[in-house]
Symmetry: C2
């Protein structure tokens, strides 16, 4: 999607891809085959770029530091990336800046010595905050991976047994809703934010994004301000996604940060005047940022996942495109059960109508019914 | 732009390009280097495609006929392409279907024998319709090329002297306005049309597109109906552009037809629910067509041309993107004076405001001031 935005602006995007079949290769002016974790391959990319940016967090920060020291322009910078790749560091940075986050401890599994000391620390935290708790891998988690809800100490001990380094131990926040804020920020600090959105996660995986969120306007305004503050604190350049919890006891807590265009912002392609992908490019290239205003009163975006039969989503396009106003985005991936294959956005005037149509199209393209999410009538 | 739409839908576009530097190569899943006029090269494309379609008219109809006979799926079909590539044939087909076109004769320069017989025929036509006349090459003209306004017989004789085959001789239609209709049509005949737009040409080159046109609503509705009729008559598949004259004496006349996405429809990328590029792909792949409704009350789209200094348009992006709401599209071409390099679209509620901002961005990116077109205050 960044490639589509680059093409529109007449910019040449060079992609570092693991495989020539990766979808991004189809929309890249040039392709370097390799891994961002391999120095020579990352250098091959750097040699072809004016500005290097990212669409995931699987990066080697020390390698990036070396390149930056040699004059390679990396945006966002390494300090920002460090916050995004290391949940423990992120919590520390946010707490230091007085940003509310879930109650947590970071248990260093090496320093804690015998494994039972780590478990003891978790037990003490549970005594204060109650079960269940959430254990999170400090690095490498995404889409519910690297996150383990645990109901009791024995379960926590088992998770810890399989982990190395450190583990983030958090309270289970009783949720009223989840929100996300997308901010685009230039090197100068000039920043714009899109309106707050409401996200629905099932099993840690985002299933739908509703714009604007069905939440009190003052809460959403507070969330936008918070997102912009976070972007400043982490000195983001490019797009920053800030995922928030709104708890039943009224707290607004920062849960996750991603220093790149994010699933929570895919709706901006059609729903906002400027998409997150275009503003990410503008921001990392230090170009004026585009307007983030909504183009429609209501926008709903629903993720497409592979159905149990592993159908080819392109083969199901005739069904999905039959839904009026459905903007279908497929990511060029082979259909596999449960794999995120794309998303559908619908814009309009009525919240229920746009949500209903977005779900109708996503289901038509094979997305399984989400457990624990009430779909609007007419979408199935 | 079709490549961007293909990417969004997860479709693999294979491009036949003359040079690897052609901008379309950057957004194509696969590239075949070659010419559509060379049999082996066109066959190489056909071998890689499920459906072959076009973004220009420089095609060899007899070669396409051969491929179609062998089972290659070509959309639009050869009969439609023939109308689009041969202005004399187009006029005949439209007249036979009772569609109003400018008064004209087709002079066959071979059959007419000595050159003075052709000039005599032009003189006789001028006696009926008055000077000036417009002489048009039957094939190969675009953007004002292959079109010669002539004020007197000597000038006509000079044009004819340099032409072979046949020449289309037309009245100069006294214009109140020019309009364009974009229609997308599936193989079944199912068709959708976007609202009528007003275009402004300077020297035969489109400089701006205003949506909806500043014309009586009933005229625009009549134009849409006419466009849809024409799409049916020529059995279009994919997008068809119908360019219309609205004369000072109240006639609505079909001037040109293009059987592909067209400059008059670039505004649809942001201005309509579904763009002409996406609906072209949907139509040629026989997928359900997308909604063509306007997303905004007013849309203005202004073409970007190379300035006299031949500046790189990408280098001027910081200026163009500084205009609020400016959707800048650059086509990846090197800046050369007078060359069409891209376009800018602005959407909003006020006709003067969107036009003013679109011009401001286009001028900021180096577009020369258009002669004979009054720009809104504030755009320069």
């Amino acid at each position: 999607m960044a490639g589509e935005a680059a093409s529109a602006l007449g910019l040449s995007m060079v992609v570092l891809a693991e495989h020539p079949d990766d979808a991004a290769c189809d929309v890249a002016a040039e392709v370097v085959i390799g891994s961002p974790l391999v120095e020579s391959e990352l250098r091959a990319l750097a040699a072809r770029c004016e500005v290097m940016t990212f669409d995931h967090e699987q990066v080697d920060l020390s390698l990036l530091r070396t390149l930056v020291a040699e004059g390679v322009v990396v945006r966002p910078g390494v300090a920002t990336l460090e916050v995004a790749v290391d949940k423990a560091h992120m919590r520390r940075v946010l707490v230091a800046a007085d940003i509310a986050v879930p109650a947590h401890i970071v248990v260093d599994l090496e320093e804690a010595g015998p494994q039972n000391q780590a478990v003891e620390a978790i037990g003490a935290f549970a005594a204060d905050h109650g079960w269940p708790l959430v254990l999170k891998a400090v690095r490498g988690g995404y889409d519910g991976k690297g996150v383990w809800p645990v109901n009791e100490l024995a379960a926590a001990a088992e998770v810890v047994d399989h982990l190395r380094g450190s583990v983030l131990v958090e309270e289970t926040v009783p949720l009223r809703a989840e929100l996300a804020i997308m901010v685009a920020r230039r090197p100068s600090g000039e920043a714009v934010a899109w309106p707050a959105v409401e996200t629905a996660q099932v099993g840690g995986v985002c299933r739908e994004v509703l714009v604007p969120g069905r939440l009190p306007p003052e809460l959403m305004a507070e969330a936008v301000t918070l997102g912009q503050r976070v972007a400043g604190i982490v000195e983001a350049v490019g797009v920053l996604a800030v995922e928030l919890f709104w708890s039943t006891d009224g707290r607004l807590l920062v849960n996750e940060i991603a220093a790149r265009p994010h699933n929570s912002g895919h709706w901006t392609i059609e729903g906002a005047v400027t998409s997150q992908f275009e503003n990410h490019l503008r921001a990392v290239l230090d170009l004026p940022l585009g307007t983030t205003a909504l183009q429609h009163a209501r926008v709903a975006s629903v993720n497409i996942f592979g159905g149990t039969a592993g159908e080819d989503p392109v083969a199901l396009l005739p069904r999905g495109l039959g839904v009026a106003g459905a903007h279908v985005h497929l990511y060029g991936k082979e259909g596999r059960p449960g794999r995120k294959l794309g998303h559908v956005t619908v814009c309009g005037d009525d919240a229920i109508d746009v949500r209903s149509r977005a779900w109708a199209a996503a289901l038509a393209i094979g997305t399984p019914q989400p457990d624990g999410l009430d779909l609007p009538t007419g979408s199935a």
